[in-house]
Symmetry: D2
Subunit: 336 residues, 4 copies
């Protein structure tokens, strides 16, 4: 599969840029959060989860981000260090910013929501001059999370990081990760998502996220193929459009269309599914697998995470994913 | 004791105005917060704690405040309702504000700190036109917490509430409760603290808090008597200056000075001591006790709270306080 | 007249605090501003005009304020110096603030409007620690303009200045000068106007301005006498309520009511009438004249200013006012 | 000359997007502004000046921008209408924004400065949804002024306008027009200037402005050729780098380098030189002239404007420029 070819011989497989925050997951689940009395703390944020996931799968990863100068920030740095993720470009804020929080509410396996604390958060204060170009030059791929584009100066830091990636032949993986809060308007979102997508090699998002990018375009039927084609006219090699339970479709620049089977799971909550999928898929591509096999691996990794209480902490190893696929094959795991 | 005489025959003993927030108390204590993995949720905020404390002591209370339109806000309203506190003037924010958070870190019984989330909080968005004058007119006393003066429009709401109190003969109890965050400058703090203190019947604060108010005054020796005298020239009947472990001194407008003994406690954390003391003291005064006896009752209530994991939830009933005083008298409780 | 007695033997008759800005007056008048091609520059701002007016009448004045670090700011300081006004407490901003501007539009003598530039203005950046208490202690009176209460930190600077005035026996003259822009809400305005009015010896404003202060009061008939009485319950000795063309009424704490005749004028524009009136009235009171005679003198000064192109630059000397009154008496000046 | 080929048969030659403001030019010149007493009002702002200049040269132009809902805004619209510029996409602000102001100070012909009012200005409030794609589709070229990128939502409106231009084959002329105020940081400026330059057909700026864009690049010698080459790798056909008195150099994608002679002038002030140069140059290119001849024409137009009191109002007709060139040729005009 040659739709996206990574430059070999680099020190890091993946450098992720963007959000580092704290998940506070309800311990008493299957009820509204008003009735939850205790919460467990985990590292969170989509790019953090993906970096942790890729690292668990045995790959060298690094992170570019900003943390608060408080106990939450120090917990995040300590956790990334423990996971073997390079944190020399994880900058500590000096302006009194706080760590972003996400309290999860799990009313039922299919009815989950998040209560976010995103005012004055450290992750959005990463500035262009703090981005280490050498780290990007030393990586096969740069993972960009769309939420990091939501405000200045993080927005400009990401735009510069993408620029560095293109200059150094580092592939750009753009995970749309659209969260309405922190954005001022849909027009603003569309403007910046398009600027980054134009320079990305791999673009991953839900149908709704791609619709959001196409606010000023003509795609009235929300046609996946029209969406993907646009980006093949720029830099993209692979465009993945996710349709929730109906599964995902990957389009590649060679005109192919790829689908992968999904795996059963005893679902606790749906959070983290996308992040573990992305981690597994990137691992597959970097391993030289076909797009189809990479998608399948990502899919199995996602099933493991949604069967667990946390996102970051539940990211599986390659052996665990392989084992899960085999057990599903033997019918040992069924939906619950 | 006639330094402050409450108007009898009113529907409510106390209406508190100001902060309603959430405490997230570390479950694993005696360690830095970086190592704390789970937290338990409680209603928090100094005026909330005092209202809950006074209610537990058997008195009719009400609250004037603003909560976020989210699960945390609904939890707060539900808890106040359950405690029998009138919440008809607890307004729900419609601007997307969040609930203030306080994560507690308990390294040791004497080394405690708080990690605050105070950006864009609902409690500071209470506006003057939302203050219900009839609730204040129906109360013996209005409890004002200084933190509610930290930003507009909550600041103006409190100034108006104090104005209503004076027009209706409702006594104003001003708990300085100074928290540096959210204030722009010390000059700003001094300006507003003085404006409210000039119209207060009872003023309670630490020596440091009174120093803060006297920024533009001449009291170089930080003399308690000079501090108290100033306010007797305005509306005050009682001024209580707290000196931490050295205990508190209450000055009354009749020239008297009152001290109360303290009680032993097996201290878990020091948070909430001031709030339970205030609740107990107000209950005593309203019961017609002497200032000395009221202080003693407050002191015992404080010892109960600092021996517990929470602030609000640990507020004792009158029977519990009396029992605690008796057990201390019998030597059954010793410092731990 | 003893409703307000000034302390004699002070270095300054009047210190004004608040707005220093620039008026840009249309040279081509009696047309909409769209058709005005050139503008003439003058020092402006209500308290600046009053200080200049009182100085022209032969009295020692000083100013407490803040100017931008630009050509407009330097022009203002130079003009005040030239007028003999003490400017040692006119602070130069260092944050990049600009000088407030007021472009006047004179469609006809009775149809005038102002286009204001009030974003990021230097005058509202005066902070409490910049207020020189000794200047206030050395003055017979402190003139406070309500607009200076519209934003922090100027708001707190004024509150502190009033506090200094009361401590030092300096009379507080409060010119309501309400301008809707820069205020967040009517509730906010009412809150701060009341706080300053409670501590003022002389309060001057239009009926509409007093209504604005009484937002949370019961004065449905907008009765001047009820309005004045409230303030006699605080510190006020004189309350002047202006009714535009119907003239002004001054109420004094001794229960008297005073009206003064007005003078004819060949009106160019109405701007500056209130400021010259205030300057003349203060001069009269300080000269030991009756309230009635002081009002008459203010009224004549106002007629001179509205017959001229500027406000500040047209402020008359005592000889000019006396001469104007005499010429009116001889029928030499008629309305035009 | 085929480095940039405009699509023929379009209704408008040029649509400009960005700043519409007011110049207040000192009438008493050759002195510091402190001593200037009167000012004359003109329409101003770089893209406004260029649009007016191109219109005066006989071409159809349109404007995309936002004006304040006040007398200054209405004056601007009226002036553009009078000049025959299409204003249907000049939107009136509804949020209380003001018109940007520029007071000029002319100490000597070579010592000029500007005092700007740029807080809360209407021009920076233009939003993406207000940009009329059909106007851009109907134009040969879109003129973008860099200052419009300084803040949201104007920034996103410009990014979208450029996107529309590229989709419709409308050439993008990017006038860097860098003004430090209103930008948060140099990094921010570099990020957005690069994003627009990547999509521009013609880029015009001073050496300092190009340095500003190259903040994260390696061009230590500030080499014009390196600068120009970068943009030929994107969409640019012509890059013009201005070196003040040393003249300008135009680089074209065919590898050529062009310089033009300059013309003498009796200089009153230097403001407006760049705008009239741009207008003349665009007119030349659109007339099918060589780059050299177009530069010469722009240069003569600039000499006319700097010999006059205003910028916009002094923009010459084609006949005036031709006449000026001829008179210079006959030695009738010499530097003064």
């Amino acid at each position: 599969m040659t739709s996206v070819v990574f430059t070999e011989g680099r020190k890091f497989d993946l450098t992720a840029i963007g959000r580092l925050c704290i998940d506070l997951n309800a311990n008493e689940i299957n009820r509204p959060m008003e009735q939850t009395m205790t919460f467990t703390k985990y590292v969170g944020g989509s790019p953090a989860n993906i970096a942790i996931g890729v690292s668990r799968l045995g790959r060298k990863t690094a992170f570019i981000g900003k943390i608060a100068d408080d106990q939450m920030g120090r917990f995040i740095r300590g956790y990334l260090d423990k996971e073997g993720i390079e944190t020399r470009n994880v900058v500590t804020d000096t302006t009194g910013a706080v760590t972003g929080l996400a309290f999860t509410e799990i009313k039922s396996p299919t009815e989950c929501s998040i209560l976010m604390y995103r005012d004055n958060v450290a992750d959005l204060k990463l500035s262009p001059s703090e981005v280490d170009a050498s780290l990007i030059a030393d990586s096969k791929a740069l993972l960009v999370s769309g939420t990091a584009l939501a405000a200045s100066p993080s927005r400009e830091a990401v735009l510069l990081a993408v620029d560095y990636a293109r200059r150094h032949g580092t592939k750009v993986v753009f995970d749309l990760d659209y969260r309405p809060y922190t954005w001022q308007s849909e027009e603003e979102t569309a403007a910046y998502y398009n600027l980054v997508a134009e320079k990305s090699d791999i673009i991953v998002g839900t149908r709704e996220e791609f619709d959001c990018m196409e606010k000023f375009e003509a795609n009235p039927g929300h046609d996946d193929r029209i969406t993907a084609s646009k980006w093949f006219g720029y830099a993209a090699g692979i465009v993945i459009i996710k349709h929730g339970k109906e599964g995902s479709i990957a389009y590649s620049v060679d005109g192919q269309e790829h689908r992968a089977r999904s795996f059963p799971a005893k679902v606790i909550k749906t959070f983290g599914a996308g992040d573990s999928y992305a981690a597994g898929f990137i691992h597959g591509l970097m391993s030289g697998w076909t797009i189809g096999k990479s998608m399948e691996f990502g899919s199995a990794a996602a099933s493991i995470v949604i069967s667990s209480h946390s996102c970051s902490d539940a990211m599986p190893t390659a052996a665990q994913v392989t084992d899960y696929i085999e057990r599903c094959g033997r019918g040992e795991i069924t939906a619950g």
